[in-house]
Assembly symmetry: C2
Homo-oligomer: 588 residues x 2
Amino acid sequence: MNPKIKYSQKTHNCGEVRLKNVGENVTLFGWVHRRRDHGGLIFLDLRDRSGLIQVVADPSLSREAFKIAQKVRGEYVISAKGKICRRPPETENPNLPTGEVELRADEIRIVSKAKTPPFEVEDGIVVDENLRLKYRYIDLRRREMLSSLELRHKVVACLRNFLNQEGFLEVETPYLTKSTPEGARDYLVPSRVHPGHFYALPQSPQLFKQILMVAGIERYYQIARCFRDEDLRADRQPEHTQIDLEMSFVSRDDILSLVEAMLKKVFLLINQDLIIPFPRMTYDEAMRRYGTDKPDLRYGLEITDLTPIFKETNFKVFAQVIRDGGVIRGIKVEKEFTRKQIDDVINLALQNGAKGLTWFSYLGGELKSPVVKFLNQDEIKNLIQAFQLRGKNTLFLMADQSHVASQVLGILRENLCKQLNLVKSNNFKFLWIINFPLFEYDEEEKRLKSHHHPFTSPTEESIPLLDSEPLKAKANAYDLVVNGVEIGGGSLRIHLTGLQEKIFSLLGLSPLEIKEKFGFLLEAFKYGVPPHGGIALGLDRLVMLMARRESIRDVIAFPKTQSAFCPLTKAPDAVKEKQLRELHIRLR
Amino acid sequence: MNPKIKYSQKTHNCGEVRLKNVGENVTLFGWVHRRRDHGGLIFLDLRDRSGLIQVVADPSLSREAFKIAQKVRGEYVISAKGKICRRPPETENPNLPTGEVELRADEIRIVSKAKTPPFEVEDGIVVDENLRLKYRYIDLRRREMLSSLELRHKVVACLRNFLNQEGFLEVETPYLTKSTPEGARDYLVPSRVHPGHFYALPQSPQLFKQILMVAGIERYYQIARCFRDEDLRADRQPEHTQIDLEMSFVSRDDILSLVEAMLKKVFLLINQDLIIPFPRMTYDEAMRRYGTDKPDLRYGLEITDLTPIFKETNFKVFAQVIRDGGVIRGIKVEKEFTRKQIDDVINLALQNGAKGLTWFSYLGGELKSPVVKFLNQDEIKNLIQAFQLRGKNTLFLMADQSHVASQVLGILRENLCKQLNLVKSNNFKFLWIINFPLFEYDEEEKRLKSHHHPFTSPTEESIPLLDSEPLKAKANAYDLVVNGVEIGGGSLRIHLTGLQEKIFSLLGLSPLEIKEKFGFLLEAFKYGVPPHGGIALGLDRLVMLMARRESIRDVIAFPKTQSAFCPLTKAPDAVKEKQLRELHIRLR
């Protein structure tokens, strides 16, 4: 016999009643999921968070209960008391965990009534998302939404247990703080007490977690809300949650191993036994082979470098590009494409920055293309060999500077994958991308920018390059990628004041700017700072992947729309003039 | 043999090395807590988060290590390699958990240097708090601060484990949202995308957690940051953390019992085995006996009601007050007071709203007072009996309306307790205050206000009073008080639309205001709402009490000052005109 649920007016949860409870007198509460009137009997599917159970109102058992059952409608909240009985054999429902039993009601009470909901409380409904967000309290009653929240809960509990066991301290850092240096736009909060001054909501706890390392916390984590006032893309929210951690006295591999062990635990929640360590790939290799720093390894379509084949070519287009330091690269589709399909691919390439795209079709052992006539027999042979052509194939080749070729072919690759439906596996393909560039060049501002953030340390070997060829310097930075989605990133940080100041000056920050923005961190570094590093994983994306949902909004209880609006509460909203006055601001 | 620490360049934590590790070769990292140069030998106390260990630099073992040890100073970060040895018997330190062993260093490396810190890394230092906040990374190195953060971590982990086991779902609610109805000033966040509109940072997740109940979550919790732009008092912060929970299908006692069981677990962390259930006292009784709704039960000094004794008195002051519906109440000090001490008490009473205070001294069986001559023998006898006077006593009596008498005597009681040092026990005296008034009268705005918040349900018996005598209506509300500090409060909520609308109208809210502020909640209530209730406990205060600290700032990693300023980061700060322009605001 199940013990009565503690701290509740229910004796049992609806979805947990089983054969072993037959004969017990129970009190259940829940929502009427469905009501079937079979004339002499009324059947109610009673739903609570745990699941459904069938409640039978039989006038021969209680005329009163039967009368009330006649009145109830979908989504009414009711209580039902009575005995758990075994269902007659032919009426068992094998699809329901409670399908062998039913509650024969002695008493039914209506706790609160319900209007007809704006959409069905069922999985897989097709409803405008704004309507779902406005009536989120109905939307969250749907099993698939509830399951996502439950999974999120379990993931977070599992992460915390793991990190607690590994000696991490959970420390809360302020939400009312100062601009953080992540580069996105800050949400600002006007101060009433300090006229003209503003707090910023943190884009991440980056500076605080580094300060905590200086304070000797050694292992910190926080499930932290982070805020970015960016133009929202499909999978962005004004506030997102990250699993934020930082460690002292560690190597890069210590951090990667810890994260691997943590995610192995977490994925067991959905019965996925991840193989660790995860593969590692340098940024350069990822860009060369997949044209992206977040490759989806569930499918091939790898980019092949053909530059050596065309070193001596007479085909002018290729020759010119190679002379200019560019590359010839291509991908192979194991399929014959129609002229229309080929044109679509070419257009996509042009739209994404290609100056042109060369195609070949391979059929019956023969290579065809408008440019075949410019190639010699060796080149054709080598091309066939490089791509290991067999059966029916289509090739797309690009000739351009390396980074343009990577970018365009990366997009083609992703697009062709979708078009050809190449992702067959439902597995999770994890991959570490390592050895990121330390800097990138900002064409607009004509200066170096940090590829990650300015606290990222260069690799030991890169330090001599800082003065001579800073764009060739590599960082002790790493991203974690799953199925083409970046779910986290981090780095070993700089812990030496001199090096940190050098990086700031390479970024073109003036001493005054440095002092204003990061002065307190540099000051802290003067009082004994341990070597440290960390990572932040996006919780929303992680749970989205685990729950196999398409949108992070499906794993957030109360998300905002793409215009950062909440259809439920109607936030943001107008405020009173008095409030603005107190905050020393006015509207423009 | 301890296994090597995982995911670290250390093999062991400094404070965890014991006799059983003797003979092991270890690598330690940490801060130099103290350095003693004994000529031939140098002793370094190496500190990490786990504690201290003695490192010995002996030139006969390694001349190199000895040379480096000569150079290190306090708070330098170093690594030390070598063998763990048993200390020579006469040099053992019984005050240190590692006091039987030491590390004889083969190698010492300086990882980073440190300037002399602005204050000592020791417990119990007397330093201006602003300096501690500015150099928080030094302050947090002190064992007492670190212990507070560690305790906070453990408390939160314990709370979560308990709630997870009881079937609660942890759900994150938005921080960028709409004004909540807690009555304090909101922090506002201007929207860039919606010109002239503002988000509010939540004063609590109240509305969202009620929406989650409508959504069928049944048991919700969150360790939630809450924001109030109030003038800061000693124990207030612009952002504080609360343990926020809500339950469906519960009675008041279900919630109280759950909280009791949870706190029993939590207090075991500091070896306090709480006796549950906690005592319960009605609001009216607390006000009558202690003059406050958060009485500290660690001492007596109870307020005695003397009104019946003076029902027929000839003493005009008392007689007049009783005629006007007032009360005569007093407290007894078990001590003879000097005239000066008596005057101080009288002044305190006058400053706090008393029109006068009558005193008596009792000495050698005789009652003395300027007013004794106005009292008859029965009155004197009854007074002696009511207070059970014996030995030396001083009495203070107030004649006024009940709420004034409660307020003033409550303040006197607290003050006399401090003056006489009456709190002898270090125990935790928990107390539930129940049956709060549903409303209070706002003299300024000449209207009813909610004593808690407008979603608090009236008790069953009070519903008939709502129209006739609303100020007599009691609420299903409860506060949890420990040693005179309120650490939490909650209520059963209203779950019926009609009753909720009635309460709003009694509060003088117009239909338009109701719709604007709470429309979405009332709308949600139309789709099947379960009976529900909850509580929020202040985490900062709870941990402060458990850590036996005087200020919540000592249990917050990065608190603000009383002017809501962060001396470490200098937030809030000026921002760029461009940012204001993007947010469609300007400064006044």
